[in-house]
Each structure stands twice: as structure tokens, then as C-alpha cells.
């Protein structure tokens, strides 16, 4: 998924500007525990797996601050995680996530629909009936045609690029439909009347509803579709509507009077106004949060080193440290010798000092726990105890690494190159830690930082990887939707080895894994599917294609006067934004 990649990119580009602030910055360590808004903070991790300051009180202004604007506010085009989260302020989907902290959030609940989809035809047909009283921001009813049109827009990739296209791939795997601007009506979705919508899938897919919950499948009204300009002022179907928006500067949402809470039990919509200020400097963002000039970080990538230090030392009660859905890892492209040999891959896994990498990523709080396998904890099927290489104990296993080197035919070690994006400081530091520990077992790692913005054409291009001799690629990954399919298919399925924009860096081409995926995807029961994904993960780890680093955590600021704050697995561990309120 591109979310992480891109958002990290700009964040890091921005932090290079931090130098400029050296001249103007003032120490903020001295201020006492008064964080604007007044009142006591809810306590450390009060918003993790529980609700901080549960409340139903309406009113006030919720102030977001960010260092990065959305890729687009057009629901069809957005891919950044925070944008997908934020879009729920002004868009609704047939089904959406449960308003609850932690893992519970990933259960889908009907949103525009009266109930979850009715399956028929062996899991190939999904039928939904819409609730009564659904209205657009101008008071006109939201119809099933509007939903269909909103979904169809993702076919028009030549005009509306950027967003995920899962529904498109599932409904029209051969790409026959040309999109609403050129192709007219899509036959795979039927709207027998204004209240009913029927999806016909060529093949069953157990995650189809998860895909429908993504904002890509939110309704868009045809007469309001400004095509590529729609993102500047999306037409609201949710509790808030756009009042003003200047890209990269600010955004203000006000209540949508035509939204009725009676039709929506997933969104509390407490504040009267939601304001977003965009800055260019992460250091300033952190200072504003700490000084009480802003309530929440929009981007939710965690605080920078300095802000983190101040926050934890002086305002720990304002800090949440949630588990995100992201994992950082090193992939071993099998096209680069000697990593075509499983024993050489294993040697590198055993030879890495995992603890040292964790410290480089910012320690257990800012970096996250040691990853023992490739599934992130927010994805059903994750099992911490699936630790085939003894990663949990932290230190490098030099003896085993040497043994594997012998089996690989390189008893004296070898040389290789590790590619790391130059836009992510934690990644670069991890690379140095890996380099230092592998040197001790005789593997000499050359670090090659590449331009993170060009990732899809550098490490995403298997030819370039081979030519540059990237035996190791350090990257991060998180699920697009919380299932093994939404997470693992692009990484591990041989079908997803692409010439450009490839994410299967390790070039895993394993018939067994492919067929396991086919089996798991067709499974309509999430519980048994989760078990199957766990098996796939096990198989991937057995092949030693990856060196997992950490299950990423973030240090998040939560202003004292915020109510109803919780991190949700459905949003990769970020706060469920639309349910946050403000104490006046």
C-alpha cells in the first residue's frame, strides 16, 4: 500500500527543513502541565484499547494540525491512511467500521445500508438496501445510483488516479469497463430501484465488504462530479461539509445540517467545527500540540524526536502509544546473488541484532516491538509466537548465522547492497544498525540510500534492483484493509510481481503460497480466513524471504480537552477521527 510510503516521504522532506528552525526555535521544556483547553489529561495510553474521556457532549472546535496535506480529498483518489480516516467526516459508505477501540473496530457495520450485504449465488452476489432519510448536503436523497456512480469513478484511472482499486479489480478483473466518463454504465453493479444496489462478482471474495468500506466506494453525485477538481470541495454525504479549503494551508469543515444522526450510529460527530492547519515543519507541529495551540496531529505518524522527548518527560498523560498496522522489514530479492540461496537469507536473518535495530528505530515506544514475523498485529491471523528465527530474544545468533553461511557455500561471508529510502530517518538508522551487526558475521553491507519519492521505479522495478545489486531492500508496509488479503497479496503473491511499482520485492513465486491465497480469499468466514492467512505468513517466514524488523508504534499527542479518543485497528492504529469531541 502506498499510504505509508508516500506520507513518510513528504514528512521526511519536510523535516530536512527543520534546520531553518534552529535559528528561531525556542525551548519549550519549561512550560508546566497546562495544555490549553484546560483540565487534566486522560493519562498515558488512555486512548489505546479504551476510550479516553468518553462523552457525548456536542460543540466546540476540533483543531487538527499536520505537515502533509491529503494526496486528495476526493474519496476516489485518496490513498493516505489519514485521508481515508478523515474522509468519514464528509463521506459515508454502504458499510463502515465499528465505532470502538482496538481490534473491535474492524468489524463492519451497516452505514448507508440497512444491514450488511445479503449474499447469494455462492458468494458471488451482494445485495444491499439503503436506509431511509439519507441526504446529501443540499437535502436531496442519497440514492443507490449515487453509490454506484461513486464506485464507478475508480475505473476512470486516467482522470482520477491515485486511489486503491480493489473493488474494480474484484468486480472487473479483466478491465473491460472503461469508467463512467467513457464507458457509460457498468453492468456488474445493478440498481433496480433508488434504494437497492446489487453487486455481481465473477469470483467470490471474502473481503469484498472490507473493500466496500473504503472511501473509494463512497457515493458521488453525478451532477456534482467536478472530475479531477472534485477533491477541492467534495460534496458531503456525511455529518460535516467543506466550508473552505486551501491546499497545503488549511481546511475547515462545518456541520452538514442535512445529515441526520438517526441514520448514522457509527459517527458521533461532536464538534461544531473541524479545523485543519497545515504546516511545513514537524518540529513546529509538535510545539503547537504541546503548547495547546492544536489538538491532534492529522497525519498521525507520531511526534518527532524532540517533541517526543518533551511529551514523554513532561506530559506523559497526554501521550498515547498505539500499535499501528505497519511493519518495517527487509526483503531479500532472490534475483540478487547470493540471496537466491535460502541459507544466505537465513544467515542474514540470524546475523542481525534485532534489538539494535529496534533502538535505531526509536526504541520500544517510538519504534515498536520486535517483529517476529511478517503479519502486523492489527491483521487477523497474527501470532506473536510464530517466531521461526528466534527474533524475540533480540540479539544476533552469530553461531547459527555462521552455520547458515557454510551451508550457503560462503563460509567467509559475502558482500551485498542494502537499499533504503533517504526520506525516512528511522529506516536509514535501521540500515546502519543492520550493517554494523552483519559485519560481525562477515556479511559486508553497503548502504545505498535512494530517493524515497522514486521508490516505485527503483526498488519497485525488479530490473533496476538486479542491476544495482540490491540484495536487501528495507521498507515499510501496512494493510489497505484489515485482512490478510489487504496486507499480503501485493507482497507475497506471484501475480503481483510487476515491472514497475512492484511490492513483491523478494520476488516470491511460490505455487503453494499462491494457491493458499486463492483459498483464503474465497473464504467467506473471516475467522477461518484469518487462520489461512496465518498459514501463508508461516510459509513466507519459512522461505526466509524477509527479515522483519519492528511492528511499528507511534508516540501520539492527545490534547487534554479532547473527548472520545481511541485508536482503532480499522485505521491502522490511528484515532477514529469522526468520533472525537471537544470539552469546552
Amino acid at each position: 500500500m502506498t499510504t505509508k510510503r508516500t506520507s513518510r516521504r513528504r514528512l521526511a522532506a519536510v523535516s530536512a527543513l527543520a534546520v531553518g528552525t534552529l535559528l528561531t526555535a525556542t525551548a519549550c521544556g519549561g512550560n508546566d502541565d497546562d495544555n490549553g483547553g484546560g483540565g487534566d489529561a486522560a493519562g498515558f495510553n488512555a486512548g489505546v484499547n479504551k476510550v479516553a474521556n468518553a462523552s457525548d457532549k456536542k460543540g466546540g472546535t476540533l483543531r487538527y494540525v499536520g505537515v502533509q496535506d491529503a494526496d486528495s480529498w476526493d474519496t476516489t483518489r485518496m490513498y493516505y491512511g489519514f485521508a481515508i480516516d478523515f474522509s468519514r467526516y464528509y463521506s459515508r459508505t454502504l458499510v463502515s467500521y465499528t465505532a470502538a477501540p482496538g481490534q473491535k473496530s474492524i468489524d463492519l457495520k451497516p452505514d448507508l445500508a440497512k444491514s450488511k450485504g445479503k449474499l447469494s449465488d455462492g458468494g458471488k452476489t451482494y445485495t444491499y438496501e439503503l436506509k431511509d432519510g439519507l441526504k446529501w448536503e443540499d437535502g436531496k436523497p442519497i440514492t443507490s445510483q449515487d453509490i454506484k456512480y461513486g464506485i464507478e469513478r475508480q475505473w476512470a484511472q486516467n482522470v482520477l488516479s491515485g486511489g486503491p482499486v480493489y473493488a474494480k479489480d474484484v468486480l472487473d478483473p479483466d478491465g473491460k469497463y472503461k469508467g463512467p466518463y467513457e464507458g457509460g454504465d457498468f453492468k456488474g453493479i445493478e440498481t433496480p430501484d433508488e434504494k437497492t444496489i446489487v453487486f455481481h462478482l465473477p469470483k467470490p471474495n471474502g473481503d469484498f465488504e472490507q473493500m466496500l468500506a473504503m472511501p473509494t466506494n463512497a457515493p458521488v453525485r453525478k451532477d456534482m462530479d467536478k472530475k479531477s477538481k472534485y477533491g477541492l470541495k467534495p460534496f458531503s454525504s456525511g455529518p460535516y461539509k467543506f466550508q473552505s479549503y486551501t491546499p497545503n494551508k488549511n481546511l475547515t469543515l462545518v456541520r452538514n445540517k442535512n445529515w441526520s444522526a438517526k441514520t448514522d450510529n457509527l459517527r458521533k460527530a461532536l464538534p461544531d467545527k473541524v479545523k485543519l492547519t497545515l504546516l511545513t515543519n514537524a518540529d513546529e507541529r509538535d510545539k503547537r500540540l504541546i503548547n495547546g495551540d492544536a489538538d491532534l496531529d492529522l497525519n498521525q505518524r507520531g511526534m518527532d524526536s524532540q517533541g517526543r522527548t518533551t511529551a514523554i518527560k513532561e506530559h506523559k498523560a497526554n501521550v498515547d502509544n498505539p500499535q499501528t498496522g505497519f511493519i518495517s522489514y527487509v526483503a531479500f530479492p532472490q534475483s540478487v546473488k547470493p540471496f537466491d540461496n535460502i541459507h544466505c537469507r537465513k544467515a542474514a536473518i540470524y546475523g542481525t541484532d534485532h534489538k539494535s535495530v529496534q533502538t535505531a528505530r526509536g526504541g520500544p515506544m517510538a519504534g515498536g516491538d520486535l517483529a517476529t514475523n511478517m503479519l502486523p498485529p492489527t491483521v487477523p491471523g497474527w501470532d506473536k509466537n510464530d517466531d521461526q528465527y528466534g527474533i524475540a530474544k533480540g540479539s544476533a545468533d552469530v553461531a547459527k548465522a555462521k552455520e547458515e553461511l557454510k551451508k550457503c557455500g560462503k563460509p567467509n561471508g559475502f558482500k551485498t547492497t542494502l537499499a533504503v529510502r533517504n526520506t525516512d530517518k528511522s529506516d536509514e538508522k535501521s540500515a546502519e544498525a543492520i550493517q554494523a551487526s552483519l559485519k560481525k558475521v562477515g556479511i559486508n553491507v553497503e548502504i545505498d540510500p535512494f530517493d524515497g519519492a522514486q521508490g516505485s521505479s527503483i526498488v519497485g522495478n525488479p530490473d533496476v534492483v538486479k542491476k544495482k545489486g540490491y540484495g536487501m531492500v528495507l521498507y515499510g508496509w501496512g494493510p489497505d484493509f484489515p485482512s490478510g488479503q489487504g496486507y499480503g497479496v501485493p507482497l507475497w503473491n506471484s501475480k503481483y510481481i510487476l515491472d514497475n511499482g512492484n511490492n513483491n520485492y523478494a520476488l516470491i513465486d511460490d505455487k503453494k503460497i499462491d494457491s493458499q491465497f486463492a483459498d483464503a480469499i474465497a473464504d467467506e468466514d473471516p475467522k477461518s480466513a484469518a487462520k489461512k492467512y496465518a498459514e501463508i505468513n508461516k510459509e513466507v517466514m519459512k522461505g526466509a524471504y524477509y527479515l522483519p524488523l519492528t511492528y511499528m508504534k507511534v508516540v501520539q499527542w492527545r490534547a487534554s480537552h479532547l473527548t472520545n479518543v481511541y485508536s482503532a485497528d480499522a485505521f491502522n492504529g490511528w484515532y477514529d477521527m469522526v468520533n472525537i469531541g471537544v470539552k469546552k
Binding site: T310, G363, P364, E428, I447
Partner: protein, 333 residues
């Protein structure tokens, strides 16, 4: 600037510095330009201090492995036990300064800062000197050719110099380095980066030397002693090598000593921007860039490489100024 004097007035300052036109080394009764300069320099305390610091830095860079083994540290050894895992910064005050780690340790990795500063000096000095050398060689050759032959050759070379002076060299260096392959001419990684940095900085530095040399040659070639040599049948090569170049030694020396610190700063800037030497090789610019993230929580980490760059550049500049004053025949000291 060095204004060459009449060759006839041998009792004042000599026209040709030490290597006499005949090539034969003879004892001159009067003092040579070199000796005059040295005696002037000796009286310039500030320049001498600068020179001493430069010498010290060069020695430190050359003997870096010896120094680090004396203090019992190595630049790439990680001491994660000295790092507070919660904040990634060193435990203890002043960036973890202690008897073992005199200048403290780096945040995150716990590598010894003193060892990295000493090794960082190698990169700075190497790039500073070699790129200046590249600039001097190209600049002197092309500047002399342009000045001596004039005509279309002068026009072409001068325009090239104008062009290069207007070129955004830092941006060019950044883009060039980022597209360089990892392996080149038998070098890998840091080797490639060093070579490219030296060549790029040197290449963009030569017009500064080239202009000075051209100007000098332009005025020198009309002097009587050159004409005398010419009328005696000396060839062009002889005139350039024996009559002109010796008179160019002074301005070239001055510009070289002043160019080195600029080059060191450029190297630091490139490393700061992430296109310098590759990790784990230590460089000052890179340390400074890493330190930005910790300027509040661990200010020592930023101060130390900053001071190292500052002292180095200042020392070179003071020394360079002294050399210039000393070599200036119009100087009063």
C-alpha cells in the same frame, strides 16, 4: 597581487622566484621571494596559529587509526547500552561525555563522537585538498593557455569559465551524485562518492584559479623579460614553463589555501544533504545533519561537528590570508 618586477633590477626583489630561468640553482646574494615570504609569515602570529591548526588537522586525519586506538575507541562501534531507549539520546549529561567517551556518544547508536570526528577529518581534508588540486591543475593549464595565446582560444576558455561560474554547482553535484552507480572504475560506495565529490568540486572550482592565472599571464606576456626571452629565440613552451609559471606560483598558492576551506564547506554541505560519503563512514556534515533531530535533547551532538568545521575553515582562512600577505610584494610587512 604579485606584480613581477623587472628582471634587470636584481638587487631588489627578484624577478623570477627560486627556479631561475636557466634552471640552475644558484645562491643569490639577495633574499629570494620565498624567503622574504617566509620571514614575513613568521612574523604573522595569527597566520602561524592557523597554520599550526591546519598541520594538526592534517596529521590527525592521517593518523586517525592511531589516535582512535590510543583513546580505545573505534568510529563504528555501537554502544547502545549508553543510550536511553525511550528517547534515543545518550544517558548522562553533555551528550554522554565520560572518561571513555571524551566528547560523548552519538544518539541512537552510541558511537564515539571523538573517534568519528577524527575520522571525519579524513574525509574533509581529503576532499578539501584533492578537489583544490584538481581545480589548480585544470585552472592553471587552461588559464595559462587562454592568457598566453589569446584570440579564439582565450574567448572559448573565458566563456567556459563564465558559464561554469554561473552554474549552480551544489545542485549539479547533488543530482550527479544521486544518479551515480554504486560501482564505478573499481570503486564502490563511499569510494565512488568521494571521487565524484572531488571531481565535481574541483571541476567547478577551476575557473576561479583560471581567471586569476589568465589575468596574470595576460599582463606578464607583454613584459620586457618575456620579450627578451622571445627575442633570444626561446620557444613557447620554454617561456610558459620557465618564465611564466614561476611567477604564477604566488597567486596560485594563495588561492589554493583559500579554496581548500571553501571545498571543505561544500563537502560538509553535500554530506549534510545526504549525498556525501555513505554510512557508516563518518563525516562532519553528516553528523551535523543527523544532529538536527536532537538539537534540543542532545545539543552537544550538534555543537561538536559544528565547532570542528568552524575551526578547520577558520584555520585555513587565517593561514591563507597570512600566505597572501606574505607573498604580496607590495606588502609592507
Amino acid at each position: 597581487m604579485t606584480a613581477p618586477l623587472h628582471e634587470s633590477s636584481a638587487d631588489t626583489a627578484v624577478a623570477e622566484p627560486e627556479p631561475a630561468p636557466s634552471g640552475a640553482k644558484k645562491d643569490i646574494e639577495g633574499r629570494s621571494l620565498g624567503r622574504i615570504a617566509w620571514e614575513r609569515l613568521k612574523r604573522d602570529k595569527v597566520a602561524l596559529i592557523g597554520g599550526a591548526v591546519v598541520l594538526f588537522l592534517v596529521l590527525a586525519a592521517i593518523f586517525a587509526p592511531l589516535i582512535t586506538s590510543l583513546i580505545g575507541q573505534s568510529p563504528n562501534e555501537r554502544h547502545e547500552d549508553l543510550i536511553d531507549p525511550l528517547f534515543s539520546t545518550p544517558k548522562g549529561s553533555f551528550g554522554g561525555m565520560s572518561g571513555d567517551h571524551l566528547l560523548g556518544v552519538e544518539p541512537v547508536s552510541g558511537r564515539d563522537i571523538l573517534a568519528r570526528i577524527v575520522y571525519g577529518a579524513r574525509v574533509s581534508i581529503l576532499v578539501g585538498f584533492l578537489s583544490a588540486f584538481v581545480a589548480v591543475v585544470i585552472g592553471t593549464i587552461l588559464g595559462t593557455l587562454a592568457g598566453y595565446f589569446g584570440g579564439w582560444l582565450d574567448t572559448v576558455i573565458s566563456r567556459i569559465m563564465d558559464m561554469l561560474l554561473a552554474f549552480p554547482q551544489l545542485l549539479f553535484a547533488i543530482s550527479l551524485i544521486s544518479v551515480m552507480p554504486n560501482d564505478m572504475l573499481g570503486l564502490t560506495g563511499t569510494g565512488v562518492r568521494l571521487m565524484v565529490m572531488i571531481l565535481v568540486i574541483g571541476f567547478f572550482g577551476w575557473p576561479y584559479i583560471g581567471r586569476i592565472v589568465r589575468g596574470q599571464v595576460l599582463s606578464l606576456r607583454e613584459r620586457e623579460y618575456i620579450e627578451a626571452a622571445r627575442s633570444l629565440g626561446a620557444g613557447r613552451r620554454y617561456i610558459i614553463r620557465r618564465e611564466l609559471l614561476p611567477n604564477l606560483v604566488a597567486p596560485i598558492t594563495v588561492y589554493t589555501t583559500l579554496m581548500i576551506p571553501t571545498n571543505i564547506l561544500t563537502e560538509a554541505a553535500l554530506s549534510f544533504l545526504g549525498v556525501g560519503v555513505k554510512p557508516p563512514t563518518a563525516s562532519w556534515g553528516q553528523m551535523l545533519s543527523n544532529a538536527v533531530e536532537y538539537y534540543e535533547s542532545d545539543p552537544m551532538y550538534m555543537i561538536i561537528p559544528g565547532v570542528a568545521i568552524f575551526i578547520t575553515v577558520l584555520a585555513f582562512n587565517l593561514f591563507g590570508d597570512g600566505v597572501r600577505d606574505a607573498l604580496d610584494p607590495k606588502g609592507t610587512r
